[in-house]
Symmetry: C2
Subunit: 225 residues, 2 copies
DNA sequence: CGTAGGATTGACTAGGTTCAATGCATGTGG
DNA sequence: CCACATGCATTGAACCTAGTCAATCCTACG
């Protein structure tokens, strides 16, 4: 995911930028295949054997869990340039689905695992990747446990906007309202109303349901606030 | 200097046998110190430099985050035998506090890091440890986003009871109601009412506020349910 | 056009929070 | 040994946010 920690570890070990996870995968490009998935198509399911590591070339992926009672929780969205399936030891703990049309690069896990076993710098990259995932998961824990509907939606928009680098004011929402709801622990109606409220407050503006603009430099971290 | 020493230790102790994190820490026991903290004492704070890895010898630790508005979120509790501070690259992302009197074993991080860098089996252990943490964090995401007050409390009790091994019916709650509330995203009153409701339903019984008994084999996984 | 799927809005309800009071231990000083 | 204070936990009542159920509105696409 966003590789803040990866950078830090990389520097502390005197590595170059190529030794983050992307660089590692790059070095496996001769083993890579390109895969294409349609909207809502399952990439792998919870419990499947983990044979492949993926990197998003285009589109958006959701990592989710379905309950027998029909409830669904989306643990994470993967955007362009982000990788998933790296941490799994044997089986996938979550289901991966294409939010919309998705193109992925697929790397065979055995080859990757061998690279990990043989190179300390690769191991550091994997550790950093997992540390990033853990930090993201714990941030989301905080959002879910301590924020109301409007705050959750705003946190989500800000995180989307700031993924992978510096703040951007214009946010594209590749996923539908139901996906957002299942990620934030809300209903689709509450998400809609929260977005509406943020619009009337002037915190955001809309250029269609899937394109929002964050107004003001008010994107302060709700944790610090 | 540190590097050579750590490597020598690794070899001399036959690290291949010590595949989990506990075994790894065990091999560092000559560098370990014992630390003692009182109830509510801060072990390290968010933002502190990560110099030490801890293992709980006795008592319970909470990993939490305090906001400027006075809200608090407890990401995780650490019980006897569990380790924390392993994942941190440079700074601690969370604050660690003693829930009650706590005794910890402290391992200097530089020595540990050196061991990690030099031994593939140690790296595998650290990766497994982080994968466990990530799985726990994502499970908690699910609890927070998809369950109501009673379900959250029940999930919490079941997880406490089944930590580290097989199901136990009698659960000790080392933490107070406020800690549980801040972990589950509820208020102290809702936790109290949920426990009361579970008692009248017969799902649990109480032998004092800090000792509960889980009745029935009804500890079904709410995810599968 | 007309249809279909998603998004929005409205009215009502329910579950959790808030505020406030009471209960129940433990500990301390007279 | 009792009286009181202190810190949690529990209980009660009013309120409010988000959920539920249902209708309507878009907008993209045959």
């Amino acid at each position: 995911m966003v590789s803040g920690t990866a950078q830090a570890i990389g520097y502390s070990l005197g590595l170059t930028d190529r030794q983050n996870l992307d660089g590692v995968l790059q070095s496996l490009r001769q083993y890579a295949t390109r895969q294409h998935f349609r909207r809502n198509e399952v990439i792998f399911a919870e419990g499947d054997l983990a044979r492949t590591i993926y990197r998003v070339v285009n589109g958006t992926v959701r990592l989710c869990r379905h309950t027998a009672r029909g409830r669904r929780h989306i643990a994470e969205f993967l955007l362009v340039g982000e990788s998933f399936g790296v941490a799994e030891s044997r089986q996938h703990a979550l289901t991966a689905e294409a939010v919309a049309e998705v193109i992925l690069t697929a790397y065979p896990k055995p080859v990757f695992d061998r690279l990990v076993a043989d190179h300390a710098t690769v191991q550091a990259a994997v550790l950093a990747h997992m540390a990033d995932n853990l930090a993201a998961a714990r941030h989301h824990q905080f959002v879910l446990s301590s924020q109301n509907a409007k705050e959750r939606v705003m946190s989500f928009l800000v995180r989307l906007a700031t993924r992978g680098g510096f703040a951007i004011r214009s946010v594209e929402l590749p996923m539908g309202r139901q996906d957002i709801a299942d990620h934030l622990g809300l209903t689709i109606e509450s998400v809609s109303r929260a977005i509406g409220a943020l619009k009337t407050e002037g915190a955001i503006s809309a250029a269609g349901p899937h394109r929002l603009i964050l107004n003001g430099s008010d994107h302060r971290d709700p944790i610090a606030a």
